[in-house]
Amino acid sequence: MLIEREDLSVLMAAVAEGDRLAFKHLYDRTSARLLGIIRRIVRDRALAEEVLQEVYLRIWERAATYRTEVGSALTWMISIARHRAIDVLRQHKEIVLAPMDDGEDWLERVAGPGDGEADLEDRDQLRRCLERLEEPQRSCILLAYCDGYSRDELATRYDTPVNTIKTWLHRSLAVLRTCLEAP
């Protein structure tokens, strides 16, 4: 699945004008990716599809607020999907967080040949920067971003005070930021 940046921002501009056909194309091109992301966070397939539906209605409503200069259309859509999925996850306390693959495995996938993703830049750089983090700090970042773990859930998983988790996250973010901003 090759998602080209140009195409998506063109589609998004048409969606902002109220073009239903463009919206359908946008959906066809991106819905599998967004559902994967949502499902990973909320776990339940039916719930994930419900969230997906809401997310696309939001994308439709807010397409006019998207600006190409602030980032790629896919990144914009992913952030809408992740925020909504995390909100739903926090409301559904009964969702059980299953253990996931360890951090190493994930790192490989972040940097792997992937699916010709042209829209998400800096994969290699992000991987290099993630490698600078130690375990379990790196896994905390991955579990939070990809699986929607809260600070409390991370604290339980690593049997660590929640304040320590907070400190880990803040340090890791600082390291990533510095590393990613380096030329």
Binding site: R40, L52, Q53, G71, G148, S150, L173
Partner: protein
């Protein structure tokens, strides 16, 4: 400590690890702070490659059908909820009953609203344009008044020492031919009008009808009323926005 750096908070927001109240406070600040908005976009861009590692999953065809159905339904009923224009006794009774239902509804959902709207962070962060330091000894409360999960429509600030309520209209929109009226609802009490909401972003000062002991747990709502405000002194139109007051921790 890095926790006070806006970039770090923005990073945690994007990770999704800001807890409920902290997250809502961040969202409220985000609505008015371009610097913070830029930080959030940066983190979204930086971390987005992580989502490239998640396996895609094709949705069932029912999802698109449902989306199409909702879009079609919206087109069929594009306007705001309509209030009956007739003013016969019967219509008035219906309207009043309806409004009673609305207010019962808001009481029932107060808990949910609290979860969504609570603000518990330093006033200076939330309210960058006002110097909260100039009200020593006073208690301060804020409510973010919004519609569903949208960006705030109004920010209501209550200063019990000064006895003033300040309303910042950010994105509140009145339906054509109607006025927006702001209501204050103390826990278990009937709504009191605080006046009409203007469209400008400048603060509106209204006389306080609030007793300090009635502030905790109070909610605000904005209804669409006939031009010039509710004719009955009670809300008659649909609730467009609502939010709950929370004390600002200093």
């Amino acid at each position: 400590m890095t926790s006070d750096i806006p970039s770090t908070r923005a990073g945690e927001y994007v990770l999704g690890t800001l807890a409920g109240a902290e997250c809502e406070a961040f969202r409220a600040a985000l609505a008015t702070d371009p610097q913070l908005q830029a930080e959030v976009r940066e983190w979204e861009r930086r971390l987005a490659p992580l989502s490239g590692a998640v396996s895609p999953e094709s949705p069932s065809p029912a999802v698109w059908s449902a989306i199409e159905g909702k879009l079609a339904a919206r087109e069929a009923a594009p306007a705001e909820v309509r209030v009956p224009a007739t003013d016969t006794a019967a219509a008035t009774v219906v309207r009043l009953r309806r409004s009673v239902r609305f207010w019962r509804g808001i009481a029932a959902t107060a808990g949910a609203l609290a979860a969504v709207l609570i603000l518990l962070i330093a006033g200076s962060v939330l309210w960058p344009k006002l110097d909260v330091g100039q009200y020593p000894g006073g208690r301060e409360y804020l409510a973010v008044v919004n519609r569903g999960g949208d960006l705030p429509a109004l920010i209501v600030r209550v200063d019990t020492r000064e006895g003033i309520v300040t309303v910042h209209a950010l994105g509140a929109e009145a339906p054509p031919g109607r006025s927006l009226e702001l209501w204050y609802i103390a826990a278990g009490k009937t709504p009191k009008s605080l006046g009409l909401v203007g469209s400008s972003a400048t603060p509106i000062l209204v006389p306080a009808v609030l007793r300090p002991d009635g502030v905790e747990g109070a909610a605000f709502a904005v209804t669409a009323e006939p031009k010039g405000g509710s004719p009955t002194g009670s809300p008659t139109g649909p609730i467009l926005y609502s939010g709950k007051l929370v004390e600002v921790q200093r």
